[in-house]
Structures are given as C-alpha cells and as structure tokens.
Symmetry: C2
Subunit: 385 residues, 2 copies
C-alpha cells in the first residue's frame, strides 16, 4: 500500500452471484473468542458475531494472535473504563476466508495480518500521508472502540477465530514467514521499527534499547538487521546472556554508575520500551550530539522530570512514537522477511491465557506469548457481542 | 567559515617587522572594564590586561556589548561559583585594532563580532563539523572560564574596551548593519536562529514563541524573516500589542484554556525562551504531528514532568539547543543583514549597568540592553585581572 492513496478506493472485481448473496444477505460469522466481561473477570470463552463482509472487507480465519501488554491493561480496566465484553488482541495472523466485491488485492487462502488499527478517517493529512496511527480524528483500534463505518459497533480483537477488516488495514505476510512468530511483528515489531526508521538508522549507528521484553527484543533484532550496533541497557546482570543471544553487541548494567558513565555520549538513538515511570536522565547522558530517546511505553503515572540542561548541551530530543502506519507496517513485514527477523515466542492455548497474563505482568516470558486459535472452544449459537 | 575546516589553519600573510615587534614583544593592552569582584559586589570599574596578540589573534576595540540574562546569573554567582574578578559580556561588536602574523582574513578597521565562544578543542567531531558550541571537550566561553591555549588564563568578556580573540572565533559584521543593534545577535540571535534552522523552518511553517524577552523577540523576527507564520504565547494580555508590533501573526494567551485549546495541533515548532520552571505540556498540545519544542533557557530547578503520552500520540520531540557554531553564527549575521533583522535595544552607559540588571530581572526592557563602551572609565595603570 502506498501513503496517501486515493479515497474512495478503486472498485475491485465483482463477486459471483452466489458469493454476493452470501456476503450481502447471509448472517455474519459466529466465532469463538476469549474475552473479559468485566475488569475482574479474567478472560473467558465468549462468542462473537462478526459482521457480514462489505464490499471492501476481508474476512480472515485467524491462526495466531500475539499477547501484548496493552491487552492486559485494557481487559483489566487499567487504562480507564472499557466496554465489556471485550476481546483483546491486535497481533493477528490468519488466512483470508472470503472477500467483499471491491477487494481485488487479497484472495481466499492468502496469509495476512492485522495490527493495532482497523480503520481511520482516511481524509486527514496524517491519513493521506499513510500515518493512520496519528489520524487527526482518532484512529479506530482493533478492539474496544467504536467503529464509525460499521454502525459504531465496538471493535473486538484477535483472541478469536475470525475477524472482518477493511482491505486497507489488512497486511500481506510475505512467503516463508512463520505465522506464529510473525504475529507479534504487527504491534511489537512495528512499534520499534517505526522510530528506528524515523530516526533513519543505518549501518554504523549505535542503537540503545531499554527494557528487554516483547518490544525490546524486537528492537534489538530489527536494529541489528538495519546494520546498527546494539547496546542493551538492563538493570539485571542475569539478562546479559539473553541480550547477547538476541544479538546485542554490548550490555550495560543501568544500575552501575561506572558502566553508565563509560557509555556516556556513545549512542545515537535509544528505544525505551519500559512502561513504568523511570528516570530518563541517565539514558539521555549516553546519547551523542543530536541523539534521540524514543519512549514507547505509556506509564500510568508521571515520569521523573527530564533535565533540560542535558537536552540543551547536546541538542538531544526526548520523543515518542506510536505503532506505525499501514504502509510502514507492510514495509516492516517485508524487511523482516528479507532479514529473517521474527519474534521469539511461546505458544499458549486458550485455557492458558489467564496464566500467561500473570506471567507477562511478572516479566516471565521470552519474549512474547502467542495464542494458537485452534485451541478455542466451539462458538455457541448465540453471540455475546 | 566552513564546517570541518582543517586543523592546523593555513598560515596567513606575515606582519611587517614593526607590527611583529609590537605584537610579539609589546605589552598587552590595558583596558577599562565593568565587572564583579564577588557575587555581591555588583558591577564596578576594573582594569583588564588583554594578552599580546599571538599569530592567529585579532585585537578588537569594542564598541558595543549586549547584556544577556546569563551575565546576571554569572556575575551574581547564581549558576555556581565563578572566578572573580569577572567581566561578563558575550554579545560583542567592535573594530579590529590589530592582527597577528597569521591573520589574513581580518584587517584593522573591520567591523567584527564575538559571541559566546572564544575557543574550542578544534579536533573533536563536533568542532570538525562546525559545531564548536558542542565541543566534546568543552568549549571555551567568552568569560569566566579557563583558556587552555592561553596559559589557562580566565577569559574576560565584552563589558570592556578591547578584547583579543583567535581569528577562528571572530565574526564578520556585514556592511550596513547597526553595530549596537547587531550586538545581541551574537547570543540572542544565534540561540534562536540555530534551532529554527535545525528544524528546517520554511515559508508556510508555523512557529510558536514562548517568552517575549531578549531571545523571544529575536525568535519572532528571525522566524518571520524565514517566512514562517508566528504565534506568540504570552501570559499577559498587555503584551499582545508588543508581540504584534514585532511581527507576530497571532498572540495566544497561555493562561486562557480556551485559547490554548483553540491552538491545539496548529504549530510546527516552538521556541521556548523561558528560563523559569514551567509546565510544557500545554505547549506540547499545540504542536502538530512531528512537531518539536526547543527549550533554550536553563531553569535553576526541575521542570514539571513532560507527559510521554503527548510525545507518543503525535511523535513530538522535546529538545534543547545551545547557541550556535561559528559558521552558523556567520550565516545568521548574513541572513539578518539580508532581511534587515536587528535587535530592539536600549543603550546604557557603564554607570547604568547595575540598574539595567535590576530591570532585566524585572523584565523591564524592550528587549535588550546594550552597553556603549565609550562610557567606560579610563583604565588604571595596573590591571585587576
């Protein structure tokens, strides 16, 4: 997909009469899902009614869905109240089941992905630039928000058997990629890829990574694939070997002042994936002239203040970045396919999701859980949402 | 001057025998100055012995020197202890009196300037890129610091009759510029010009300016000259007319939530010149996608924390910037000459300096005091420093 592509989209090949009847008049697919019915419920079996695919829609049989830390926050109501029932999941990989009449870029059987976005206004400057994540009227997230082009139905995510998404927000998974290990690229991958590309990382640059979880381990792999030298900051000596295994050229123990002092003014860009409040000033000191620190995690309370003197004395930037646009997500998938980059995953079944959440909160996963949707129950005859 | 010019410099035209004798063997010039002898002394008449010009030196008869807020902090010991006696001043304009043997780019009578720097290591990556202000070994400020290439003598600034500076750190003042109104460009001008150029401001961009003092008024004029639309934020309705007179296209009252809300996501880059701690989040909300806020003033205590969510949701940058390099300062002077940009000044005599400091602290100047050095006393026969 290219940035700024025209709205409305070109018409695709019409469906056959039988297909049209099915998609236009048939019922939406009932599908099994795992979701929360309240902030305290944990995840439990639910049944979703997916909409009948419209002309531009792609219906996808989901194979795998990554478990993102934001799924935990959302289902537990830690980021403000959410509509329940709520089915999380925005690292979705599956195969096209059927397509609407105007879709000619996807066909049944294609391996595809869906990330954090399923729609946006398509008209603002951000959308026209292919930066749908920064849609000025607010993007439409993959779960838990109103979907204006679909009667303001609440979107429901990828811990489910199927999903229906407008073709503009469907990604193509390149040949040869492992579907399960690719799923986390749709959020963790693009969230780290985007700031590295924005900063224009190239061979010889030094990239720092703070936090070695789902996002951090992707940042290490992607930065290495871009040809950068990678420095992992960790508070725990025990993570040194793991960081090196992932490809880190250097590991700096962030609680050792002498190690931090030795790293002073040595790094071009830092990808900070820690979502808890923490002092950024020690990391800013490790940046070279003109360096930038991108904070990707959103802490639940105030961060300690950044020292303006550090920014002034080396013309640094303290920045943020939000996932990525659709065109850039496709670029990232193609880049990862070319460089053999995938997530390190642990596959879980539907019945293991609640335990997996607890382990995520405890930081006990290397580095991403992925739900295998074959383990979902059979959907009931009546939908919960 | 071009970035990265070779070290050591090419040899210039040799002086005549008479000139050589004068510069090599004659005594340094004794010159009148106004400086502090302690943090509490205020400014009082002193006599400085300037060094005998070395081969690469330019001796300058100072005509005007701007009064920068940092002069107040330094002489009053508010930025940590300083060596006394201390003669401040780093917005210097004057005429070349004599030059060393290796100087062929300046000659007696030339109108020249000296800003915040009089030397740097000349060898680090920053210096080789023409970013001497970010010298990795620490630049040599125009006053109050050790000067390694001159026996670690303490540098003394421009509230004085003469100064001797290496030719690499001497600026050429273009024909037709008013010497007094040009002096503040050497600090206030370049400090605001540099981040605007770094951000690559061009016609059609919207530039916000926070704080309408010495730096802020230069930011307005320079941004306008770059073709930008300029929005001035002020907490005081009384400053609206003054902002408009300077060229602001729009004035936003920063204490009126509705005015700040109306300015939301409308600005490309903000130049924040306020040196007191203040909440940046309301200003960050006025930035467009990819916007940047450059903080130029260094507050004496912590700033309220910046919200990472604001940075993340619009990929903003909270940045700093420090004066400018020598090549860029020359570029700025040429730009200001071309566009008729100068500082709005009030000229003061030596005996008025202490009152001027009090008025600066009270914000009672539009917009920069400039010392006329003709008002300095006659130097004594013995130097104080």
């Amino acid at each position: 997909m290219t940035p700024g592509r025209p709205v409305p989209p070109p018409l695709g090949k019409p469906l056959t009469a039988a297909e049209t009847q099915e998609t236009r008049t048939g019922p939406g697919t009932l599908t099994a899902a795992m979701g929360a019915t309240s902030a305290e419920s944990g995840l439990r079996p639910l049944t979703l009614a997916r909409r009948v695919p419209k002309d531009d829609d792609v219906e996808i049989d989901i194979e795998f869905c990554g478990l993102c830390h934001s799924d935990v926050h959302a289902t537990r109501g830690e980021w403000g109240s959410r509509p329940y029932p709520l089915v999380p999941g925005h690292e979705i990989v599956g195969r096209v089941r059927r397509t609407g009449a105007a879709v000619d870029d996807f066909r049944a059987g294609d391996l595809v992905g869906v990330g954090c976005l399923v729609d946006s206004c398509r008209e603002c400057d951000s959308c026209l630039e292919g930066l749908e994540q920064y849609c000025e009227r607010g993007n439409v997230g993959t779960y838990g928000v109103k979907d204006p082009r679909n009667g303001n139905a609440i979107t429901q995510g990828g811990y489910s058997g199927t999903i229906v998404v407008d073709r503009r927000f469907v990604l193509r998974i390149p040949e040869g990629m492992d579907p399960a290990a690719t799923a986390p690229l749709l959020c963790a991958g693009i969230t780290t890829y985007s700031p590295l590309r924005y900063f224009d990382v190239e061979p010889g640059d030094v990239v720092g990574v703070v936090g070695l979880g789902g996002l951090g381990h992707m940042a290490v792999k992607i930065a290495k694939a871009m040809g950068a030298e990678v420095v992992v900051f960790t508070s725990s000596k025990g993570k040194t070997a793991a960081a090196t295994e992932l490809g880190a050229d250097q590991v700096v123990l962030s609680r050792e002042p002498s190690a931090m002092e030795a790293a002073k003014a040595s790094i071009d860009v830092i990808i900070d994936t820690v979502a808890a409040p923490h002092d950024l000033n020690p990391y800013l000191r490790t940046l070279r002239l003109g360096g930038a620190l991108f904070q990707l995690g959103l802490p639940p309370s105030d961060m300690p203040p950044v020292s303006p003197g550090l920014l002034i004395r080396r013309r640094l930037a303290y920045s943020g970045s939000l996932i990525g646009g659709i065109a850039e997500t496709q670029e990232m998938l193609d880049f990862c396919a070319e460089h053999g980059v995938a997530s390190d995953i642990e596959i879980v079944g539907a019945s293991g999701l609640n335990d997996a959440y607890d382990r995520m909160v405890a930081g006990d996963v290397k580095y991403r859980f992925v739900l295998d949707t074959k383990t979902l129950h059979t959907p009931s005859e009546k939908a919960d949402a």
